[in-house]
Symmetry: C2
Subunit: 338 residues, 2 copies
């Protein structure tokens, strides 16, 4: 194995031109090369099966064709949708996506960023949501600085106070609109399965929801925090039931949590929506066919990924840019009139 690798030098020699000329032909430089030589080089390269060594190019050019993508958990459809958007844009731009997963550990995010820096990634999209953990935040900020210092660009999806380009979904506005829609169905007593309290996304959705209830002059909801996962929703729902709170409508800050919650309700014989209405947030495509269909706030997740990738790939000014993406309330069968 390991047959000698074809190098530019070999192509050049075979084609009877200099290294410089071969390089110019095979990698669109500004310089012109006569058609004759150009043809010869192209043909030889083709024939030898030449593939440029990306590491060498990266080293010589001091910039690679790597784009980082950092998510908490790629099996979470929220992230996989964003990932799809990011990869599409990156691939169109001829770049290659490096996927890192943090497992929701903030320090892992820092590590990944550092690795990406080592690889001289040209840009990074941070899709994991920020937390209120001060020290984690500051270490992350330091890494981000180091990264941008080096000429790399960084964009975040969802809330971030990191001075980077950001795609901000309308978490608060969405939560608020959802609350209003639900009050219009006649509900008066709400509960919220709120995700980890230190997560900005969760906090914003909750805050918006509370504001929406307040708008309608309705009492604040009972809030039960839990993990940002299916199981988190499940546990939180059980806790809600155990607490004997008399809510008629539950808002889970995530579709995935809502799924877990519905499972819990079902197990306990609570019918949705007859006994309890439930709504989520995100409108995960994979979950659209569930029964009862989940009321939620639709976020254009793939598009958000695309936007983030777009931001991070075209240079832009020094000003951090912010793109707001609105959520749209979608009422389906999981919420009923009360």
């Amino acid at each position: 194995m390991s047959a000698r690798q074809v190098t530019l030098a070999e192509v050049a020699k075979q084609a009877g031109v200099s290294l410089a000329t071969a390089s110019r032909v095979l990698n669109g430089s500004t310089r012109q090369v006569s058609e004759e030589l150009s043809d010869r080089v192209l043909r030889t390269a083709e024939q030898l099966g030449y593939v440029p060594n990306a590491s060498a190019q990266a080293l010589a050019r001091n910039s690679s064709s790597l784009v980082g993508l950092v998510v908490h958990d790629i099996t979470d459809p929220y992230f996989s949708c964003i990932a799809a958007g990011v990869t599409r844009v990156a691939e169109e731009a001829g770049l290659v996506v490096v996927l890192g997963t943090t497992g929701r550990r903030p320090e892992r995010e820092v590590e990944l960023l550092s690795t990406l820096r080592a690889h001289r990634a040209r840009a990074v999209v941070l899709a994991g949501s920020r937390t209120t953990d001060r020290s984690a935040q500051s270490r992350l900020a330091a890494e981000i600085d180091a990264f941008t210092e080096q000429g790399g660009r960084v964009a975040c999806v969802s809330q971030a106070k990191l001075g980077t380009d950001t795609v901000v979904p309308g978490n608060r506005a969405g939560g608020r609109a959802l609350a209003r829609a639900l009050t219009e169905l006649g509900h008066k007593k709400f509960a919220v399965l709120g995700g980890p309290s230190d997560l900005f996304v969760a906090r914003d959705r909750l805050a918006g929801f509370k504001a929406g209830l307040a708008d309608a002059g309705i009492a604040p909801p009972v809030v039960i925090n839990g993990a940002f996962t299916r199981d988190g929703g499940y546990e939180a729902a059980l806790e809600l039931l155990a607490s004997k709170t008399r809510a008629t409508c539950v808002f889970a800050v995530t579709d995935v949590m809502a799924m877990g919650a519905m499972a819990a309700l079902r197990e306990r014989g609570v019918r949705v929506p007859e006994d309890m209405s439930i709504a989520g947030f995100d409108d995960i495509p994979t979950l659209r066919d569930t029964v009862p269909a989940l009321s939620t706030v639709r976020l254009p997740l793939e598009e958000m990924g695309e936007i983030a990738a777009g931001l991070v790939l075209d240079a832009g000014g020094d000003e951090p840019r912010t793109v707001r993406v609105a959520g749209e309330v979608v009422l389906r069968a999981s919420t009923a009139h009360n």
Copy 2:
């Protein structure tokens, strides 16, 4: 921006040692370095925030720390689960995962492999399923050869006759076992929503299913082919209904297709499982909470990703290895006695 990048040379100079020594300290070489110098180098590196330039390392060592992962569609939970397994193992090994998506275009797979080759990726996991398309296969095989020639390793998930390491899920056996389980429920008339006819995964599951029916002395099923997606399942189910076939049980070769099919049935007023039983294949975790709960064949998807990554990362002999992974029939509420 773009403050000068800290290089090994600077660290070495600051620490008052040679480049060689600094390199040896900072990248576990076989050579020993005295504790004193070692400490000095480490401290200086730390202090200067030195991060090795991965491209330069890759170039000098002629091997990178990149692992490729090629999937058709990262939003498909089947692939995202596998991706999770692959990334976990790769990250534990200190490697970095490059994610490529093909959008189910075979030529894109070839392109990606070529890109990965350019990056001197040390290994690639091909998770997309193979088709019967001869020419696409042969071009892919050529790229795989080129890749391995260069010292890279390749592993495939699911059926592949490509001479690479492979993780083979028990598609046929699973289909067969499922068929038997369903006949034991008393069903006699089956339909299959079969996915694209040129896809090995689909064919195998179908073939196994047919074999299982034959085992039970039951007539072959009506087969309706469609795309390997939710919408494919939806369309196929509509077609099935339109065909007036009198099946009491439908097998969709994929959970995702089964979801689409259930949606179609529901829309048409066909109750599951009362009027029609339905089963899928894969046991996608995200879909486990659907109602009615989907009967299926469970595949340990994440584990399959882990295994594939494991195969591809530890050198192994020249013999292509094959790891078989069994599917386990899980009957739930979507299939009823007949």
